[in-house]
Amino acid sequence: MDYKSTLFIKEHRRIIIYIKQRELEQRMNQTLLHLENVWKIYKMGEVEVPALKGVTVEIKKGDFVAIIGASGSGKSTMMNLIGCLDMPSKGSIFLKNKDITKLSESNLATLRGETIGFIFQQYNLIHSITAFDNVMLPLEFLEIDDKTAYERAKKILDMVGLSDKTHHLPTQLSGGQQQRVSIARSLAADPEIILADEPTGNLDSVTGKSIMEMFHRLWKEEGKTIIMVTHDLKLAKYAHTTIELKDGEIIRIDKN
């Protein structure tokens, strides 16, 4: 190979790397989620207990965010608000530039189904239907046609390494397998955000590590935005951005 063509290939590679970096930067520049002075106040009889006190934060597209804090710091409340499962008492939440407090119930449900994939500590699979049907469920709610949905579910279960367990009921699977089914379910509708609440909380350390590696791969290779709530600082190290909460307020935002 002559010098010229070697140079050309080198240059070509350099350009590709540059483009990829630019893409990542661009992606990261896009704000996916924006919390603006968000308050959440719970009423316990006569007493008002604020769980979040004026939280303002931006989460960029393609980021891997860990929300950490001790129990009672408000991280679960924040996760519920980010996941559109709950409404703030005050303030606004913008998901893909839409104010979720102003959306109708039906539109919000569809936005949630299309944009966010949930992963819970308790896996939260439906026990009466098979692993495969659990993965199909989000696609059914979005009224994706049967053939596409079927192929998509098959492909994703294959991806999480459960192609041989598709027709098992959740109760017939181990904790790690169940969590992988729930990851597959969260990915079924190809959402931009994966929202995970203590995803390894119920798993042993080896299984937990493999799950975290799966998250990392989803972030790096699939370009998913991952938001993970955890109290485990070791897990937070996988993340790109760490948001620490204390008593309902953000006390620190770190970038790796």
Partner: protein
């Protein structure tokens, strides 16, 4: 979510239902089965009635003495209270004079003079009490609605012969009776010439002989005159003509009328009405059973919503809209109703097949119902299924609505 998918999930919920759901379904099954059985029995009775009305001669009238039973009794009581001796007053009867008068009415086709009374009968060493009818042997066979099973009816020249009811021939005595056998009635011998195709304890004989048997009957006085009219369509007109003539002969007015003309049609109508109201009553009871079933569905649905709260939260977190949850739970309730209805229809059909056999042994109306058999019509099945689905949905609508309105965050937190 598409309807087909919602249906799949609702069906899945029923199939994975616990014992409780099946008990709920059982409630509906009992209700629907009861309704189906009773309605089909009622329909069978109605059919039976109409078919009887067809061959039971709508053209037959019966003339009896006395205004009507109720008035007659109150009249007697009044006499008693006045303290006057009843012997001095003439007894109200139907006799030859009336018969002669009736003969002049052109609307009348045939007449049969009848008396009736109880008599002792003997056969071999057994005895028993039966109702004896003295009838006009010349006309009875043409007017009567009874049908001959064996032998023949009475004829004009008959004298010491009788026609007996089916039950007398078979079941009254230890030994079965047959045509041409001899039977002793009040110490006189009679030959059986015919056996009726019915279940009665009655004996029919020529009226002249009956006067001899029934000693308290005065010759020339009848208990009733059975009249067959020429034209059934002009029944009302004929009744009017007869009444008019008799009122003149008997010297009575509309208000002092001392006889009654009843038509088979009227009594059939009355019977049908009674049967109808009885069926209605039973249906009402069955409907209460169905209502209890409906309350059961509502109860199960409320519990089911509570039990599935977490699943509802999960579904909402992965994109289910309120509408989707509502439809799944409503379909679930409808399916419970439908399955209950379907099983209920099956049991109802079995039950309505069994009921006649169970009731046939009793007496009175029940055995009438029994002998009528049962008819399960397609329409009653469709109505029963439709009603149970409706009941399911109606009792499931509030729980389903509650389920759909659950806040996802609260539902997910539910353990």
């Amino acid at each position: 979510m598409k309807f087909r998918k919602s249906f799949k999930h609702a069906l899945n919920m029923v199939l994975h239902a616990k014992l409780r759901s099946w008990l709920t379904i059982l409630g509906i099954v009992i209700g629907v089965a009861a309704v189906i059985a009773i309605v089909s029995l009622g329909e069978a009775l109605q059919q039976d009635m109409t078919s009887q009305l067809g061959d039971l001669g709508g053209d037959i009238l019966t003339l009896t003495a006395g205004r009507s039973r109720a008035l007659f009794f109150s009249h007697n009581r009044m006499k008693d209270s006045r303290g006057s001796s009843s012997a001095s007053e003439e007894e109200i009867v139907i006799d030859r004079t009336d018969l002669q008068a009736l003969k002049g009415i052109s609307d009348i086709k045939l007449m049969d003079t009848q008396i009736r009374g109880d008599a002792e009968i003997y056969y071999v060493a057994e005895k028993g009490s039966v109702t004896v009818y003295g009838v006009d042997p010349a006309t009875w066979s043409q007017i009567t609605t009874s049908e001959i099973g064996e032998g023949r009816m009475l004829g004009p020249a008959d004298s010491n012969v009788i026609v007996v009811g089916g039950r007398i021939a078979d079941g009254f005595f230890d030994k079965q009776l047959g045509v041409n056998q001899l039977l002793t009635i009040e110490e006189r011998l009679f030959r059986i010439v015919g056996i009726l195709d019915d279940n009665s304890n009655s004996i029919y004989m020529p009226i002249d002989k009956a006067y001899e048997i029934l000693e308290d009957k005065e010759k020339g006085v009848y208990d009733s005159i059975v009249i067959q009219v020429k034209n059934e369509d002009e029944l009302d007109q004929t009744i009017e003509n007869i009444e008019h003539k008799l009122m003149i002969i008997r010297h009575v007015t509309e208000s002092t009328k001392d006889f009654t003309i009843s038509s088979n049609q009227q009594s059939n109508d009355a019977r049908a009405e009674m049967m109808g109201s009885m069926t209605m009553f039973l249906t009402a009871i069955a409907a209460v059973a169905l209502l209890v079933g409906a309350v059961g569905i509502a109860n199960t649905m409320f519990t089911s919503v509570l039990e599935k709260t977490k699943e509802i939260g999960i579904m909402k977190s992965i994109g289910a809209r309120n509408k989707d949850i509502l439809i799944i739970f409503l379909l679930n309730a409808a399916l419970i109703g439908f399955i209950g209805g379907l099983l209920g229809v099956i049991f109802g059909i079995l039950l309505s097949g069994l009921l006649p056999a169970l009731m046939g042994t009793g007496g009175g109306v029940m055995s009438r119902m029994g002998s009528a058999g049962s008819v399960v019509s397609i329409s009653s099945i469709i109505i029963a299924l439709g009603a149970s689905v409706f009941i399911g949905m109606a009792s499931g609508v509030i729980p389903a609505y509650q389920a759909s309105k659950l806040k996802p965050v609260d539902a997910l937190r539910y353990e």
